[in-house]
Symmetry: C2
């Protein structure tokens, strides 16, 4: 027997009680009970986002939430600054291209973090910028960007700060209001411990003003004003994936019980432990400024990165993620977000050690696990 | 003890084995197994659609599928003919308004069906029409439109026929290819026996030509070309609601086992039985040309329509749907689609009789159930 274990940066494992909620009979979506559930989910999402802003629940993947931000705030010909250092920054660019937006690219290499000074300069050179688009956790590289610093810079201008927090929210500190994030987008299938299918979008008063003034917007399903109109009654304009919403309530209660700061601290511990293990194995972390949602490892020159991942899955049951597109075979992405505890991380590191041994990589067996243990028990 | 029974025209009851599939552990969405599943789902959807055209799977509500049709085929300033006789025809109009489309309205009253001759005239008067938008089953009124006749008319022109088959597909005859439907949109939560969260869109070769030529389209998440590019590998461009897709496979296997013509015949029998019962109770069907997904009953003048529905739910456990917006309190909508058999219908009709008795309505108790029994057993 070999169990299958999921360590991809979304979808992530879902708690058993949440899965069982999904197996309950389907109910109608326009009932007092359903409205009560959506109301609770939105209140708990506000807690996770650390915001008093409106939070909108969309039935879509995270990209749909990102499109909602773009299509509501901007219209063809308007200007946006894009901070990008990976595939998910490029996702913002793809969406903006689809909507005819003029994009000012502020770009650094994969694995690097955007220096806030570059944003400051871009904003000074482009005073007609309507919004700045950033990424909290760049899932393609493992970098966590300094959104707090971005927020301080953007807040001094009339521009909005729009953040893709899809894989970051809940896995690393993110204080939507304190950090002046006008629109923060997240998804259900990362640290929020649900299967894919729901996206969440917080919208500040400053952002609503821009949205209301944007009369040339081209949208309908992602028209955030339609969702806002239904918020007072805890309802949605279109049939939502209501069984997913019901199940999200279950996972959010778990987050409430743990407490958001404890949640961040748990992810920080798991991230630090994985990074310590990687270093102890003589491997290098790919991300310059690592987020705590995942650990991204540079594949050593002596190893076939694709083959090792296949072996890890087939022989040991551990499913990690490969690099995407140009990064394929060059990095391994080990997620430790959501429904993941210290022994899950220890197990994954142990499997990684065994796969490295199989690949003929030289290191002291057990050194990675030992380093992780020290960090996880506070003796690191 | 009183069981809760769902008879709303979406969401509808989901088979137990499909619900249990949703409770299984979450898996990664970019695996050979997941691609195999999506491939099977698409093949089975083609069977349900009765099409050899591409079928695209979207993570969204049905409205998202409708938006995909509008935003891919049309762009601001282009012209469309809208056949509308209810709230879901108006949904097409709302989406087209959101995308700046010029709409030619061909409209008849709620409860009526669009005469095909009206479409013929509108097309003659508007030779620059890019597409005609229609509704297979108008869920707000219970009408089934004559899409087969529309198809014969539209096929003679360069225009596309785009059909909202969300609540109709699987519940009433719909032959996408034989009827020349260029784009047919459906949803998971109606006759396809899944919770809400997925939309399906079939696209003909004629439609792909129009989409490719439509370079002014404004979209990204619903850009159908992005989905088509992933079809050869049975993949999706964005993280799909992959546990819903896995569960859809289970419900589709049930449909395959029953056979599409048997499925249509079962719905036709249930529809005929419910209509016979309504007539035997001295009530009238609201829909001029009823579809078989639901039976829509005109509330008699002597009865408070809202109160009866509340009583039906509270005292007997049966959840039917009220009329929407202007129709609230004026009609009752009894769905019999998807995971619904003859005794489910008999039970609902029995509960309706009891609620009518409670409301002081005069009729021969048991007459409705008896009429339905005669039809369901072929003695009607």
């Amino acid at each position: 027997m070999l169990k299958t274990r999921l360590f991809t940066p979304g979808p992530t494992p879902v708690p058993e009680e949440t899965l069982l909620e999904l197996a309950k009979p389907v109910t109608y979506h326009r009932t007092a009970e359903q409205k009560q559930i959506l109301g609770e989910v939105i209140a708990d999402l506000k807690y996770v986002f650390q915001t008093a802003n409106d939070v909108i629940v969309l039935t879509s993947s995270g990209t749909g939430g990102m499109e909602a931000a773009v299509s509501n705030v901007l219209s063809p010909g308007k200007k946006a600054i894009l901070l990008t250092a990976g595939r998910w920054g490029e996702r913002w660019r793809g969406i903006m291209k689809g909507f005819g937006i003029e994009v000012v690219n502020v770009e650094v290499a994969y694995g690097k973090a955007i220096p806030p000074a570059m944003l400051e300069e871009a904003l000074a050179n482009n005073p007609d910028t309507v919004a700045v688009f950033a990424t909290l956790s760049e899932t393609s590289t493992g970098v966590g960007h300094d959104v707090e610093a971005f927020g301080k810079i953007v807040a001094k201008t009339s521009a909005l700060l729009v953040v893709d927090g899809i894989s970051g929210l809940g896995a690393m500190e993110c204080r939507t209001d304190d950090w002046k994030i006008d629109i923060c987008v997240s998804g259900s299938q990362k640290a929020l411990m649900l299967p894919p299918g729901l996206a969440y979008v917080s919208v500040s008063a400053k952002a609503w003003q821009v949205i209301e003034a944007n009369t040339a917007a081209k949208n309908f399903y992602f028209d955030l004003k339609r969702y806002r109109a239904k918020l007072p009654e805890n309802d949605t304009p279109f049939t939502p994936a209501n069984t997913l919403i019901r199940a999200q309530r279950v996972s959010l209660k778990r987050i409430r019980a743990e407490g958001i700061e404890n949640l961040w601290a748990r992810h920080a511990r798991m991230g630090a432990a994985a990074r310590a293990a990687i270093a102890a194995l003589g491997l290098t972390n790919f991300a310059e400024r690592p987020n705590n949602a995942m650990t991204v490892i540079t594949v050593p020159a002596s190893i076939d990165g694709n083959e090792l991942l296949k072996n890890l899955e087939k022989k040991y049951g551990y499913k990690l993620a490969n690099g995407q597109d140009s990064m394929k075979g060059k990095i391994w992405r080990l997620s430790h977000m959501g429904y993941c505890d210290m022994f899950d991380v220890i197990g994954a590191l142990s499997a990684l050690e065994l796969a490295l041994l199989d690949a003929g990589y030289k290191f002291q067996p057990g050194a990675g696990v030992a380093a992780a243990q020290r960090v996880l028990t506070g003796r690191g």
